[in-house]
Symmetry: C2
Subunit: 103 residues, 2 copies
Amino acid sequence: MSTETIGEKLRQLREQNNLPLRKVAALIDIDVAILSKMERGERKLTKEIVLRLADTYKYNVDELLVLFLSERIMYEIQDEALGEKALKVAERRVKYLKENKGK
Amino acid sequence: MSTETIGEKLRQLREQNNLPLRKVAALIDIDVAILSKMERGERKLTKEIVLRLADTYKYNVDELLVLFLSERIMYEIQDEALGEKALKVAERRVKYLKENKGK
DNA sequence: ATTGCCGTTGACTATTTTTGTCAAATTTAT
DNA sequence: ATAAATTTGACAAAAATAGTCAACGGCAAT
């Protein structure tokens, strides 16, 4: 199962491409320090950065985005006893909205 | 199905208790304007406020918290095509973490 | 029409969180 | 050892959030 964080995944991709932080940071136009922190989960990623990295590594964007979003979701319910219930409710509500989209 | 927002739910509860914003705001120690905005979804609620309101209205805390959390979750994936997938992945990951809690 | 009560709105400030920049320190590889 | 790569922390800038306040509008009763 995909138990890795998106940061770990991104570092893995970078290493597979044999690219140093320095180069990737230059390519996607952010500071090396920030990229380093993002890979290690010390800084939050943004959707924009994820997109640029997917492009840089030529990797499946959707897979990365799902990982990215799921992590943001998990962040919202961290340490919450009712987290799982909230997730289920959110799912039902999203589905409901979709069915009745546009009213 | 619970299709209402937590703001709507809270307003409903307040009205059922025949309490004016003014009084509830005083009870939970926030400004009337803020409470008004929270009930209408113009301002985000905080967990703390939800707890105080549940207490004020003597209403099921967990139900309100789940509603509150699910809304925060939905906020994270709003307009995201991959939202539902991300929710499912988040669920699986949360379960995984739970099973291996404490490592 | 005035008073009183309730809720809404917007402008403003303060506070907190997030983001960006940089250089020094540490680690890793050659 | 030295050079490249990465990590770390301090600091400033910017953005998001939260709080305060007063004016405004609706409505009912008189």
